[in-house]
C-alpha cells in the first residue's frame, strides 16, 4: 500500500516536471513537435493524478489537498487558458504556411534529390497535422469536462 508521503512525493516530482515544461513553453513561442507532445503528456499525467487523489478526498491530509489545488490552478490558468490556445494557434498557422509553401512550389521538372528533399517538408507537415489532431482532442476534453 502506498503511503500518503509517497503519494505526496510522487505528486511533487511530477508537478515539478510539469512546471519546468510550462516555463519552457511560456518563454518559447515556437516549441517543436517533441516539446509540444511532452508538455501535453505531462499535463495529462498530473491532471490524472490530481483527479484520482480528489476522488479519495476524505482520506487525504490538508497539506496534500492544498498542493492539489495549487497544481489544478496552475494547469487551468497557465496551461489551459494561456499556453494551450497559443499552441493551437501556432500549429494552425504553421500548417497553413507550410501547405501554402508546398502548394506554390516550383512545378518545373525536379531532380531526384530535390524531390526527396521536398518530401522531408511534407513529412514535417504530416507530423504537424497529426499533432494538431492530438491537441484538438485535448481541447475537446476541456469542454466535455
Amino acid at each position: 500500500m502506498t503511503s500518503t508521503d509517497d503519494i505526496s512525493q510522487m505528486l511533487d516530482n511530477e508537478s515539478l516536471k510539469l512546471q519546468n515544461l510550462i516555463k519552457i513553453a511560456e518563454s518559447n513561442c515556437d516549441l517543436n513537435i517533441h516539446e509540444i507532445v511532452e508538455t501535453y503528456y505531462q499535463v495529462m499525467n498530473v491532471s490524472s493524478m490530481s483527479t484520482m487523489l480528489k476522488e479519495q478526498i476524505e482520506s487525504q491530509p490538508d497539506s496534500l489537498l492544498n498542493k492539489i489545488q495549487i497544481i489544478d490552478k496552475s494547469i487551468s490558468e497557465q496551461f489551459n487558458s494561456n499556453i494551450h490556445p497559443r499552441i493551437m494557434k501556432t500549429l494552425s498557422t504553421s500548417i497553413k504556411e507550410t501547405t501554402k509553401k508546398l502548394q506554390s512550389g516550383n512545378t518545373d521538372k525536379k531532380s531526384k534529390e530535390e524531390i526527396e528533399s521536398e518530401a522531408k517538408l511534407f513529412e514535417e507537415l504530416r507530423q504537424k497535422m497529426s499533432t494538431r489532431e492530438f491537441v484538438e482532442q485535448y481541447d475537446k476534453g476541456l469542454y466535455d469536462d
Binding site: T99, L102, Q103, K112, I115, A119, F122, L125
Partner: protein, 273 residues
C-alpha cells in the same frame, strides 16, 4: 495459379524491402519478363511497365535482380497528390497506391471469380481499373480529386479505363450499363474506407438487378497501428456483416503503405449472401 503468383509477389517484395537503400516515398518493382515465378503474358507485363514509365508519380527507375527475378524498380513521390486529396471535405481516404503488380493480381482473381467489370472506387491513378483493362475486362474508375483525375486522363491514353471525376458516394452507377461488376474500394477501413464503402454499397443495393451479381473487394490491414474490428476480416468484418456480404477469398499483396510492414495487405473478396 493466381494464389501462387500472389505468394511469389509477396516474397519478391520482402526480398526487395530487405535490399532497398533508396530514400523515395514510395517504391515498387515489376518483373521484366515472364519467368517460372511470374508466369504472366509478356504483352501484359509490358503494359504494366508502360503504366509505370508514363506515370509522373514515378521520378526514377532502374533495373535490379531481386532474388532470381530481374525487375525494374520504380521510385515515386505522391506528396502533392496527398496534399490535394486532403483538401477535399468529402474525400474519405488520402491517396496511397497499391502496387501495380498487386492491382494486376487482384484483377486476375476478379476475372477468375467470374466478374465482367472492374470498378475502381477512390481510384487514385486508376491502376486497378487499368489492370482490369490489361486482362480484357471492362473497367471504370471513380475518383473525386481533380488532380488525380487529370493524371488518369493522361494515363488512359495507353488503355482507356474510363475515368470518372466524381464523389463515388453519389455517382450514378446505372449510367455505366454494368452487369456483373466487382468494386475495389480504395482505403483501409480505419482510414475512411468504411464511410466510402458504405456509401457505394447503399447506391448499388438500390439497383436490384445489379446487387446480387456484384462483388466487393476491401483492402484490409493486420497492423496493430489500427484498431481491430470485433468481426475481424482485417478491419472490415462489421461492414461485411452489416451489408449481408460473405467473404469468398482473401489474398495478401504488397502495397505502398505496407512496404515497411512485415504483413502485406490482405484483400478480402466478398459477395452478397
Amino acid at each position: 495459379m493466381i494464389e501462387t503468383l500472389a505468394k511469389n509477389l509477396v516474397n519478391l517484395k520482402k526480398e526487395f524491402a530487405s535490399l532497398y537503400e533508396g530514400h523515395s516515398q514510395i517504391q515498387e518493382v515489376i518483373p521484366i519478363s515472364k519467368s517460372e515465378l511470374f508466369q504472366i503474358e509478356q504483352q501484359e507485363l509490358e503494359l504494366l511497365h508502360q503504366f509505370a514509365a508514363k506515370n509522373p508519380i514515378y521520378y526514377n527507375s532502374y533495373e535490379k535482380v531481386i532474388g532470381r527475378t530481374p525487375c525494374i524498380v520504380y521510385e515515386g513521390d505522391i506528396n502533392k497528390y496527398w496534399l490535394s486529396s486532403i483538401q477535399h471535405g468529402s474525400s474519405h481516404a488520402p491517396f496511397s497506391p497499391t502496387w501495380i503488380m498487386s492491382a494486376y493480381v487482384g484483377a486476375l482473381l476478379a476475372k477468375k471469380l467470374g466478374y465482367l467489370e472492374v470498378i475502381d472506387i477512390g481510384s487514385g491513378d486508376g491502376r486497378i481499373a487499368f489492370c482490369g483493362k490489361v486482362i480484357d475486362m471492362e473497367s471504370y474508375s471513380v475518383e473525386i480529386d481533380d488532380m488525380l483525375f487529370d493524371l488518369q486522363k493522361f494515363l488512359c491514353s495507353t488503355l482507356d479505363y474510363n475515368p470518372r471525376c466524381s464523389d463515388a458516394g453519389i455517382f450514378d452507377y446505372s449510367s455505366l450499363n454494368i452487369k456483373q461488376p466487382i468494386f475495389f474500394i480504395g482505403g483501409l477501413a480505419q482510414m475512411g474506407g468504411v464511410s466510402l464503402a458504405s456509401a457505394v454499397l447503399e447506391k448499388i443495393n438500390s439497383i436490384p438487378d445489379l446487387w446480387p451479381n456484384s462483388g466487393w473487394v476491401f483492402a484490409g490491414t493486420l497492423s496493430q497501428k489500427y484498431a481491430s474490428d470485433p468481426n475481424n476480416e482485417a478491419g472490415w468484418g462489421t461492414l461485411i456483416e452489416k451489408n449481408n456480404l460473405k467473404s469468398i477469398q482473401s489474398i495478401s499483396l504488397p502495397t505502398a503503405w505496407a512496404f515497411h510492414e512485415s504483413d502485406d495487405t490482405p484483400y478480402i473478396f466478398t459477395q452478397p449472401n
